[in-house]
């Protein structure tokens, strides 16, 4: 089986605080994996290490067999990231933002096609000539994800992609993420349990930098005896807190 992500004892410390503590996970390719946890659980730090944005203090991590420390150039060609904050060039139009990102990953002769396809896939046609700074929060977030996808990554990291969006924009983004599942492995962090429930094939619950539980929703429900991810999550989080 091909693994999108393999980590072994991955650890990151910030002075006294251990943000990620001996994290060992294997994420099969072609799945959407949700990484859940309260604020400060280590989700974003984990994503930063897996996308070469932060160096692990201990342990190892591989993306599709490439080590993040030894082969960062290879890893960077394989991953795309949409950060918590919308990361767009504000004064560039939607099309220019996409062209720019495509030019960082794709050969020149493929850029035009990739831009057209991405604009169509994300329904950005109406706004393609509009500056990013003039887009609403929802469309800006959508552009940010489109920019993460246009380089045709094999592993896509979405760090709280629907944070702050209204329910309609969130549902629309879910449909787009659902469509992306067919093309790439996705790691999603979110605070919205219904989002993970709707989209994730496999769920990891992080508490204090460690994996407290993992499995499909069914497996986690069986483990805790609760119904629904929110109750499952609360049970596991509170259980870990009481330990």
């Amino acid at each position: 089986m091909e693994y999108a992500i393999e980590t072994r004892d991955l650890t990151k410390r910030y002075k006294e605080k251990t943000a990620v503590d001996r994290l060992s996970i294997t994420v099969p390719a072609g799945q959407l994996t949700a990484l859940l946890g309260v604020n400060g659980a280590g989700k974003t730090t984990t994503i930063r290490m897996l996308t070469c944005l932060s160096k692990p203090d201990e342990g190892s991590a591989k993306i599709l067999g490439h080590d993040v420390l030894a082969e960062p150039d290879a890893v960077k060609k394989l991953v795309g990231i949409s950060t918590q904050d919308t990361a767009v060039a504000e004064n560039l139009t939607v099309r220019e933002n996409l062209e720019f990102m495509a030019s960082l990953y794709l050969p020149k002769d493929r850029i035009k096609e990739a831009v057209e396809n991405t604009i169509a896939a994300f329904g950005l046609g109406e706004f393609e000539g509009k500056k990013a700074k003039l887009l609403s929060g929802g469309w800006k977030r959508k552009l940010s994800i489109a920019m993460a996808v246009i380089g045709e990554p094999r592993v896509l990291f979405l760090d709280e992609p629907t944070l702050g969006l209204d329910v309609l924009a969130r549902r629309q983004l879910w449909r787009e993420i659902e469509a992306l599942k067919k093309q790439m492995s996705i790691v999603l962090t979110t605070h919205y349990m219904e989002e993970a429930e709707a989209l994730a094939d496999r769920i990891y619950i992080m508490i204090d930098g460690r994996i407290a539980a993992e499995g499909t929703l069914c497996e986690l429900e069986k483990l805790t005896g609760k119904k629904g991810l929110e109750d499952v999550f609360v049970t596991i989080a509170e259980g870990a807190g009481n330990e």
Binding site: D85, A89, N91
Partner: protein
């Protein structure tokens, strides 16, 4: 130069070209200063023997003054990127540190060139109106001589944008603009004043940048007036470019640690 560097340079150029403030500070303000100081010059009696604001001297001074705003906008652009998430996204892309450095510096050299063409064009107009002889060959050489100065100011902006945040970088640059134009001899004759003022000015590259451009415009190729200033400004540009790139690379590594 690779595609990623050029793409990033293009992005930075577009970002700047869509900011109205960059037109005001990089083009309009130097032009306004050219016109105002030319009016001041017309008011100075000939007997005073004051030629600093005569268009053949003023053109070079204002060109250097304009480059200081290129420094300001370089610093703002870099600091703004560093404070947002966009640069984080680019750090996770296959871009290398050299792509970032070239991508920030190259477009500003183009902006500097455009600025010099505009300000020298206006200077030509003023010279025609005021009846002064401003030789096109001198202006061409002046524009070419500005290249090391443009690189020097861009490198200072790159350095400040890397070291300081979006709020403090413009403030630091404003201090350099005020001090640099003062000790650079743009607004008064540093050599005429002499003393400690001249000594301080000669310790900084701004004085040599102004002197170099003025000499080039006058087609004066003297050792003291052209070649030494050219050597000083070129060395300063090289040192500051290497230093700013070194600091950026270190900061980038620290961000990714």
């Amino acid at each position: 130069m690779n595609n990623r560097m050029l793409s990033f340079a293009k992005r930075n150029l577009i970002e700047m070209s869509r900011d109205a403030l960059s037109y005001i500070f990089c083009a309009a303000f130097p032009i306004v200063m050219l016109i105002i100081m030319s009016v001041v010059n017309a008011s100075i009696p000939k007997e005073a023997g004051m030629t600093l604001f005569r268009i053949d001297n003023l053109a070079g001074g204002i060109a250097v003054f304009g480059l200081m705003f290129v420094m300001l906008f370089t610093a703002i652009g870099v600091a703004k990127d560093r404070s947002g998430s966009f640069l984080i996204r680019l750090y996770a892309s296959p871009m290398k540190s050299g792509d970032f450095m070239g991508g920030y510096i190259l477009p500003m050299l183009l902006v500097a060139l455009a600025q010099v063409i505009i300000s020298f064009g206006v200077s030509m107009g003023i010279a025609l109106i005021a009846g002064y002889d401003l030789r096109p060959a001198g202006l061409l050489l002046g524009a070419a001589s500005l290249l090391p100065a443009a690189l020097m100011f861009t490198a200072i902006g790159f350095l400040f944008g890397t070291l300081f945040n979006e709020k403090s970088a413009p403030g630091i640059c404003s201090i350099i603009i005020s001090l640099g134009s003062f000790v650079g001899g743009i607004w008064f004759d540093v050599e005429g004043v002499g003393g400690i003022m001249e000594k301080i000015s000669r310790c900084l590259p701004f004085f040599y940048a102004t002197k170099l451009i003025r000499s080039a415009i006058h087609l004066d190729f003297g050792r003291e007036s052209f070649w030494i200033p050219l050597a000083v400004v070129t060395c300063a540009a090289a040192v500051l470019t290497v230093l700013s790139c070194f600091v950026f690379r270190r900061k980038m590594r620290a961000d990714l640690s």
